[in-house]
């Protein structure tokens, strides 16, 4: 895919507190809907986004373990919160406080996933950036993706254990700094 070859420029893009970035995917993670704010922030045309897997905007700074946790949580039919840095098609990046939830039909079957992203506070971004640096360092020592995920996951669990927090509690600790 052409997007994986986008090189980060280090330029950061932000959006307003009143805005929501919204995407929907099918159960396999392919984008079925992207709102205007998503397209603007990601520097994408609608036709470049729809039908694409969601890692279209994957930034190399994101630890693999966070996405693993995201998918594990969603498969558990639970909501997932995460600070995520995304890579736009033009090389810029933008931080979001993502809230991902399964979408159900009337019979309770998961018909897809829905992600609302809100603008995070700077303090939360700084803290998440620090955390991800540690996880990334743990992951970078492994060549095989599954080993890297396991190492990142172990590093995350160790940090949580040291702080005596669950992942959710840690995320909301950061949010208490001002994410709305």
């Amino acid at each position: 895919m052409k997007n994986t070859r986008v090189r980060p420029t280090g330029r950061e893009r932000t959006f307003s507190e009143d805005e929501l970035i919204v995407t929907k995917t099918d159960p396999r993670g392919s984008i079925t809907y992207a709102n205007d704010v998503f397209l603007r922030m990601s520097a994408l045309h609608e036709e470049d986004a729809l039908g694409q897997p969601h890692n279209l905007i994957r930034h190399p700074d994101m630890p693999r373990a966070v996405f693993k946790l995201l998918w594990d949580t969603l498969k558990d039919r639970r909501e997932m919160f995460a600070y995520v840095v995304n890579l736009a098609a033009d090389g810029a990046h933008y931080w979001v406080f993502a809230h991902v939830t399964p979408s159900y039909d009337d019979t309770g079957r998961v018909v897809g996933y829905h992600s609302n992203r809100r603008v995070p506070s700077r303090s939360a971004v700084t803290a998440a950036d620090d955390l991800y640096r540690v996880l990334r360092a743990a992951e970078s020592r492994h060549d095989r993706p599954q080993d890297a995920v396991a190492a990142g996951h172990a590093a995350l669990q160790q940090i949580l254990a040291e702080r005596n927090r669950t992942y959710d509690e840690l995320v909301w600790d950061l949010s208490a700094g001002g994410a709305r």
């Binding site: 919204v22 809907y33 709102n35």
Partner: protein
């Protein structure tokens, strides 16, 4: 890349098709299906703007509904750290979001208060338990001591009553003896009076006999003197006997009063013993047994309170 259906502008009469497409999405959303979004309607500014506006409305409503459900579920599960995200919400959405946030805060405070109350309940249970344990032990100890003291006192009282009754018997004996003495002295007195009378007659007869009765007169005089002394002594003895009898009556009254008091005391002591040890005749429970019952009941109550 496959062409995504949302990107296909409706075929045929553009305006009508677009309006039907909007109507379809709105009806699904009205029915609570927030998965639908308005597809591309056409390239005119009006179509683009209408699509963007309707989808934004759906996005925000969708976000609000998801937040309302998830935040309430988190609150119900006690995960009060999970706040209602009011970002991206304006106007009534924001006001309702803040309202839900406040009710979450209230729930959190209530939960904290309940937790604090539960904790102080446990602390109170611990304090009550140790207080009741100490109390029941002290009651049991005191009850034991009281029981032993009461039994000792009852023994003393019985012995005192026996002693006093024996004393009463002795005094009564004394009174009877002094009565007999008095009778004897009366008899002596009468004998002395008759002897006086006899000596008087003897001295008269001796005088009539003249010189021949002189010696007899001396004897009569001696007899009279003896009778007089006897009479005086008898009077003194009677006075003594009267004094002894009066004293004995006093002693009897005092001893009766003492035994009555001791008997009353004995009844009271029996009452104390019954209160301490229980009374099988009246099916009353003793103090030491009550202390055990108290402890058992409080333990039962505490088990329930700690659950």
């Amino acid at each position: 890349m496959t062409h995504h259906p949302a990107l296909s502008a409706p075929a045929g009469n553009g305006d009508d098709e677009a309006m039907y497409a909007i109507a379809d999405v709105c009806r699904r959303a009205a029915g609570g299906d927030f998965e639908a979004r308005v597809p591309r309607l056409g390239d005119s500014d009006a179509f683009v703007e209408a699509r963007s506006a309707i989808n934004e409305l759906l996005d925000r409503t969708d976000a609000f509904v998801r937040e309302a459900g998830a935040a309430s579920a988190a609150g119900a599960a006690g995960n009060f750290y999970r706040r209602f995200l009011s970002g991206g919400m304006g106007g009534a959405y924001r006001r309702a979001a803040e309202e839900i946030g406040r009710s979450g805060d209230a729930m959190s405070r209530n939960a904290d208060e309940i937790a604090a109350a539960a904790e102080s309940r446990l602390t109170f249970a611990d304090e009550l338990e140790s207080a009741v344990l100490a109390l029941s032990e002290r009651i049991a100890t005191s009850a034991g001591e009281m029981g032993r003291s009461a039994n000792g006192l009852a023994g003393f009282a019985r012995a005192a009553v026996t002693d006093a009754e024996r004393g009463l018997g002795t005094v009564n004996d004394l009174r009877r003896s002094s009565g007999q003495i008095r009778k004897a002295v009366d008899l002596i007195n009468r004998v002395a009076m008759q002897t006086q009378l006899l000596s008087l007659n003897a001295s008269i007869e001796a005088a009539r006999a003249g010189a021949a009765g002189r010696g007899f007169s001396v004897v009569a005089n001696e007899v009279k003197t003896l009778a007089n002394e006897t009479g005086e002594s008898s009077g003194e003895i009677i006075d003594q006997v009267d004094a002894v009898q009066a004293a004995s009556e006093d002693a009897v009254r005092v001893l009766r009063a003492v035994t009555d008091r001791i008997r009353e005391m004995s009844t009271l002591i029996d009452g104390i013993a019954a209160a301490v040890d229980g009374d099988t005749a009246h099916e009353t429970t003793g103090l030491s047994e009550l202390a055990t019952v108290l402890r058992t009941e409080v333990e039962r109550f505490l088990t329930a309170a700690r659950a």
